[in-house]
């Protein structure tokens, strides 16, 4: 590491660069940025709350449909008739739907938030 420092040691460059006019960011910038951070944090909190709530309702609904289908299947002794297959298909598509929905939802919120 020291070798690198020595290899590139250049007093001319160092003195030139150190005398450059450098603009310093003012406190206004700091305050404005902190305001943005606060706003973003509050927004994120609200959105996350909504997301969590809607996720909860959605997955509860899926679970209920699944449980209902299971009860129906057990009740009608599996695959005895075409009518018994319908709940299985419903269950399958509900799970598929939830996976697709979840992925898209996550991607959407990620793109909105950051």
């Amino acid at each position: 590491m020291e070798n690198d420092k020595l290899e590139f040691k250049d007093d001319f460059i160092t003195s030139v660069l150190k005398h450059s006019d450098r603009k310093e960011l003012l406190d206004d910038f700091e305050n404005a940025l902190m305001d943005t951070v606060h706003t973003s944090y509050a927004y994120k909190k609200v959105i996350t709350g909504i997301l969590k709530k809607s996720m909860f309702y959605f997955f509860t609904a899926i679970l209920l449909i699944g449980l209902f289908s299971l009860v129906v299947i057990l009740d009608r002794s599996i695959f005895k008739s075409l009518a018994a297959v319908v709940p299985v298909i419903v269950l399958f598509f509900s799970i598929l739907g939830s996976v697709v929905f979840f992925t898209n939802y996550k991607r959407f919120f990620q793109s909105v938030l950051w």
């Binding site: 460059i13 030139v16 660069l17 006019d21 910038f29 902190m34 606060h38 950051w114």
Partner: protein, 175 residues
Amino acid sequence: MENIYMDRVLSGDIDAFRYFIKTYKDMAFSIAFSIVKDEQYAEEVVQDAFMKAFNGLKKFHRKAAFKSWFYRIVVNESFLRLRSIKKDRKMISIEEQSDAIMEVQFEEITESHGAKIHKVLSLMEPKESLALELFYLQELSINDMMQITGWSKGNTKVILHRARKSLRHIWKQMS
């Protein structure tokens, strides 16, 4: 020290993030300016970088120093912005660049030494001025530079060599 502030931010004390802004804003601005060469854009880049750091603080594993991690964000954001600037207005051709040097030479009579250096840096290639900024002003090691820029060791050294040569060349032309 930084870990304490990081923990405070992560536990919901958002005001603790001011510490990072206070500590790194000026250095981040210099780095961004050395790449985008425009104060307004550089300010925007710094703002975006801080927002990214704030949102990504949870994902920061603290294996490296916060400084390196944050500067990497600044560098990436700056190059992204530079790309969009280049898309907006076409890159200045070499001819125009030499015109700019002549212009600077003319203005130099009335301008301070510091302003002249500022202009020399703004005429340099973004990668080269970034290398000078990191090595000579921020006094970072080659390894730190590699972490921040993502360049290889060889590449970093080549860029540093070129940057020194280029600065001397523009300086000579202006004097």
